[in-house]
């Protein structure tokens, strides 16, 4: 019996370690090869505190957890601006450094590690035997798993996945990716540190080999094996890998010496086979047990309104009234100059090397006006949007939003202040559902903030309902309610553009910058989209549109700027601009 408890203990420790690593890799897309080393910080801290300071079991666990969390947060700081491949190198280096320090520091016991840890005990009860340790470990693991589940399967986890999919797009809908990265590193590290401390107490020593790079790679393998970004995947992956070696040793009657080698071969082969057959791991991210049951022809408990089934057909019927004659003209009557400018740009300049992309631009986006930005390819329109939304810093000039100088602010801060943008190349979160894409844009969601997520579950679920309603509303605006449950990556390009508009609407921003919202959208929807945009000023929105489809722009824009070679060279209504032969020549060539 003790033997089984021993294996169960190892399984639990590795399950929680790989769950915490999955938060990093599978959800936030932050690949770390230092996870075992971080666990080692917890392990060594607990060992040192227990041996040198005679600290009790529980307080040393708490301190070890906190120290690992701090180390994780510290590690995340250089990671903030790194791309994935650099992050891998950084964490690998960090792991090697940590193990080397442990190996060569006298006070940490060098290669032999810290030995002679006391038998852990809680409420005077000894946890010396595997079976005694098991129940305590089970409780701790259950708490960790609950926390993991609460984080992963929540608005918070949704933001993490958005981070993984497209950091810039996540910032564009107002998510402060830095805060999330630091948090997720600290959280995952805390869990790892706790498990490292328990692992040390279980073996009653903390030594470098327990926490070296091979162990980190093993953890990564467990996560991949089970399925990255899936709730249960790492549990299965870790359990299978830990259990496989005793099973192989017991059942293959070939001696430990050969079994150890065969096990490595079996791991390798299994990983290769898995990559071929189930590239997303044993339990892929969007695996649903209900669907799997359905495929097997088994009855579903409470089947029915599963995600995104029947909803009104999007096509002709829904769009009917104004099409195809065109959704009417902009209000000829409005006095543009009388409207307050919401966004004012003065002397904005940006050069890339020798090319001056934006060269002293002045413009104003006025309240509840749709402003068009026209000009030949390469005129600097997208660069202007990037400057306005803080994606790139300007070389000179100022940008004011509602009177506040926002020059040099971060994209997410600008988005939270009420100016959001869509991208020419769409930038949806492809491995998330359409509904999730739009729900992400819902601002001030308490469930996206750790303390509120954990402390105010009711407010969170209320907000989640509101976010869902809002998202569905925005999706029905663009006629894609029936695709709500689909992965965004499965949509056609035109559909993705529409979802992007829905996402932009859901941000609730007052100033919307649309980069080619219509190109790639089919003609039937062109009018629909134009109608949607046309309706925005009535809702108090200020809009700026870059678009080459002049037919559509003509229906949309109250006012247009003509941009060429980085400068604004004309402004007025589209008709006025297109009446100027010079502009026609610049734009239409001939």
């Amino acid at each position: 019996m003790e033997y089984r408890f021993d294996i169960a203990n190892q399984v639990l420790i590795f399950v929680v370690l790989s769950l915490s690593l999955n938060l990093l890799i599978g959800y936030a897309g932050q690949v770390s090869l230092a996870h075992a080393a971080i666990a080692g910080i917890g392990g060594y801290a607990a060992a040192k505190l227990a041996i040198a300071n005679g600290m009790d079991f529980v307080p040393s666990l708490v301190l070890a957890t906190l120290m690992a969390a701090a180390a994780g947060a510290f590690l995340s700081v250089p990671a903030l601006r790194l791309t994935v491949q650099h992050l891998i190198l950084l964490t690998l280096a960090a792991a090697v450094v940590l193990v080397t320090i442990a190996n060569s520091t006298r006070d940490l016991g060098g290669a032999y590690g810290l030995v002679g840890m006391p038998v852990p005990s809680i409420f005077g009860k000894s946890l010396a035997k595997p079976s005694q340790f098991f129940w305590f470990l089970l409780c701790v693991s259950a708490i960790c798993a609950l926390l993991y589940w609460r984080l992963a399967d929540s608005p918070y986890g949704r933001v993490l996945r958005a981070l993984r999919e497209d950091e810039l797009a996540a910032r564009a809908v107002g998510k402060n990716v830095f805060v999330y990265k630091v948090q997720v590193f600290a959280l995952a590290s805390a869990m790892a540190g706790l498990m490292g401390a328990l692992w040390a107490y279980y073996l009653r020593l903390a030594s470098p080999v327990q926490f070296n790079v091979t162990q980190s790679l093993l953890l990564v393998t467990m996560v991949i094996f089970g399925g990255m970004g899936s709730l249960l995947g790492p549990v299965v992956g870790a359990a299978l890998i830990v259990v496989s070696s005793p099973i192989l040793e017991k059942n293959l009657d070939i001696g430990a010496e050969k079994a150890a080698l065969i096990r490595l071969v079996i791991y390798g082969a299994a990983l290769v086979v898995l990559m071929r057959l189930r590239p997303e791991g044993l339990i892929p991210e969007h695996f649903s047990f209900r669907r799997a049951l359905a495929r097997l022809g088994l009855p579903l408990p409470g089947a029915g309104a599963a995600a995104g089934q029947q909803s009104p057909p999007p096509a002709a019927g829904a769009a009917d009234p104004a099409a195809p004659a065109g959704p009417g003209q902009p209000d000829a009557g409005i006095d543009i100059a009388a409207r307050t400018p919401v966004v004012t740009v003065e002397g904005l300049r940006k050069a890339f090397g020798g090319i001056v992309a934006v060269d002293g631009v002045d413009l104003a986006l006025r309240e509840r006006v749709v402003t068009g930005l026209v000009g030949p390819n390469g005129a600097g329109k997208t660069t202007l949007f990037n400057l306005l939304t803080g994606v790139i810093p300007p070389d000179g000039g100022t940008i004011r939003l509602k009177g506040k100088d926002i020059t040099g602010m971060t994209p997410d801060a600008i988005a939270r202040l009420g100016m959001a943008r869509s991208f020419q190349d769409v930038r949806l979160f492809l491995r998330m559902t359409v509904l999730e894409n739009v729900m992400l844009a819902y601002s001030r969601h308490p469930g996206e903030h750790l303390p509120l997520l954990l402390g105010a579950p009711l407010a969170t679920s209320r907000a989640e309902r509101r976010a869902r309603e809002l998202a569905l509303e925005c999706l029905s605006f663009v006629g894609l309610v029936d695709k709500a449950g689909m992965l965004a990556g499965g949509l056609s390009f035109g559909e993705q553009k529409l979802v992007a508009i829905a996402r932009l609407l859901a941000t609730g921003a007052d100033v919307l910058l649309l980069d080619e919202p219509i190109s790639g959208v089919d003609p039937q929807w062109v009018d629909r989209v134009a109608l949607v945009i046309r309706a925005l000023p009535a809702q108090g929105k200020t809009v700026c549109v870059v678009e080459h489809n002049l037919y559509a722009l003509g229906q949309l824009a109250d006012h247009c700027y003509f941009m060429e070679s980085g400068r604004i060279t004309a402004e007025g209504s589209l008709q006025e601009l297109m009446a100027d032969p010079r502009l026609i020549a610049a734009y239409f060539g001939a």
Binding site: Y3, R106, L203, V220, T221, E257, G268, V272, F352
Partner: protein, 447 residues
């Protein structure tokens, strides 16, 4: 002009998705597989066990009882006793694991033939120093009801002790011995000299005799953290007593293959002799690079194994070694000769010091079993240890003479043994004993 991100940034953002991570995982698996390959590589040094079944009767076992004591039911004949063995079966140290396995198996065979108990050996792998594997192995053995464990590797011992001590299971280590840090541990006894400490007196005296001008001694040893400290302190003390001084103390990573920076630093101190505390293949790599360094100091290592010599090649001809070497050329005593013959016959290869130690340990265990049974006590770790404490002297393959087998005696305080040790030289990967010594002094100089 939308270069807000570089191409590679975009590339990785978009493409470094699951599939790439899978590749990363595969890399990890490849790493593990490479480890496995290394483990296989260790076998090359030792000719395969492809000989036909042992020719029974070819080795005369009839004298065995005369040397090591009587067999029969009162000595455990007919009883099955579990014997746990935790070795480096895989990984870079798998040479040790294999040679120790062979010594153990032969010992078990001979004990049975001499009318002793039937030892049921349960082998466990500590993967060449993985403490997790070591602790797990120990726990599994304890859970299996094993009362006696033979182990190797000092680093692993730290993970085994917390398991065996509360369970009161006796452990003997003939691989690394107690070294300095594992002395005086309840239920743990080392059956090998304290290495390299126990060679220091003899080596210093031998150097004084053979290299009278040598004053400056350098030390290059495995970095095992704080465990180095008492060793170095003792070395300084011994050197001072012999009018020598320690001019360099270099620590290197276990398993290192590149010693260029170490050698450069050592050269700066201009030593006359370099003592190395390196094991496994490491002294082979060290010597290979040392001979090209231009230094003329004499290297005295802490071990000789044929596979390290294969790494070094001709460079090993300049290598001296000092440890509790098991002499194949001139067997210490008749039992040693029998062991060598039987080993060669069974495995078609030469035994080494490690094989001899593990063979010998099986006989120590048998002696303990015999004593416990003679008192009608059950075979438990506690009873076995008490039997050891009551009379710490055992028959040994080491020492003795042409007619008498040798003995070893455990130090009841320190839990270690003072074993016969030798200084040796190498030519063409053939080792040759040039001096014998014990922990205190040089006993005999042959060359």
């Amino acid at each position: 002009m939308n270069d807000e991100k570089g191409y590679w940034d975009r590339f990785f953002e978009r493409r470094l998705s699951r599939r790439h991570l899978m590749r990363l995982g595969a890399l990890g698996a490849a790493g593990l597989a490479a480890g496995a390959y290394l483990a296989c590589g260790g076998e090359e040094g030792t000719p395969a066990t492809g000989t036909p079944a042992p020719r029974a009767g070819a080795v005369d076992l009839s004298k065995l009882n005369e040397w090591v004591g009587p067999g029969g039911p009162q000595a455990g004949q007919g009883q099955t006793i579990k014997l746990g063995v935790i070795l480096a079966l895989t990984g870079p140290g798998s040479y040790y694991g294999q040679i120790m396995t062979k010594g153990t198996d032969l010992g078990v065979e001979h004990v049975r033939a001499a009318g002793g108990p039937n030892f049921q050996v349960i082998y466990k792998d500590h993967k060449s120093g993985d403490v997790t594997a070591g602790a797990t192995a120990a726990r599994e053995l304890v859970n299996d009801g094993v009362q006696i464990i033979l182990s190797s590797y000092g680093a692993v011992l730290g993970s085994i002790l917390p398991v065996i001590q509360p369970a009161k299971v006796l452990a003997l280590d003939g691989g690394g011995g107690t070294s300095q840090i594992w002395k005086r541990q309840d239920y743990f006894w080392g059956t090998r000299a304290v290495i390299p400490d126990d060679t220091f007196n003899g080596v210093a005296q031998y150097i004084r005799r053979k290299l009278p001008n040598a004053r400056r001694i350098a030390s290059v040893g495995w970095d095992v953290g704080p465990a180095n400290d008492p060793v170095i302190a003792y070395l300084k003390q011994v050197l001072a007593a012999n009018n020598m001084e320690l001019v360099a103390e270099e620590r290197v990573q276990i398993g290192a293959t590149d010693y260029s920076t170490t050698l450069a630093r050592v050269r700066g101190t201009n030593p006359d002799v370099i003592l190395t505390g390196l094991w496994g293949l490491d002294p082979g790599y060290f010597m290979k690079q040392y001979v090209t360094s231009g230094m003329r100091a004499q290297v005295v290592g802490a071990e000789f194994t044929p596979d390290a010599c294969q790494v070094a090649g001709a460079a090993y001809d300049q290598y001296w070694f000092a440890f509790d070497y098991f002499d194949l050329e001139k067997p210490f005593n008749p039992w040693s000769k029998l062991f060598i013959d039987a080993f060669r016959q069974k495995y078609n290869q030469d035994p080494d010091f490690y094989a001899a130690n593990f063979y010998e340990k099986v006989f120590i265990v048998w002696e303990l079993v015999r004593r416990v049974l003679s008192r009608n006590q059950p075979i438990t770790g506690e009873n076995l240890q008490n039997a050891l404490k009551q009379n710490p002297t055992f028959k040994s393959l080491y020492g003795g003479d042409a007619n008498n087998v040798g003995t070893i005696t455990f130090d009841l305080e320190e839990h270690d043994v003072d074993k016969l040790q030798v200084i040796g030289k190498v030519s063409g990967c053939k080792p040759r004993v040039v001096a014998k010594m014990n922990r205190e002094r040089l006993l005999e100089v042959l060359d």
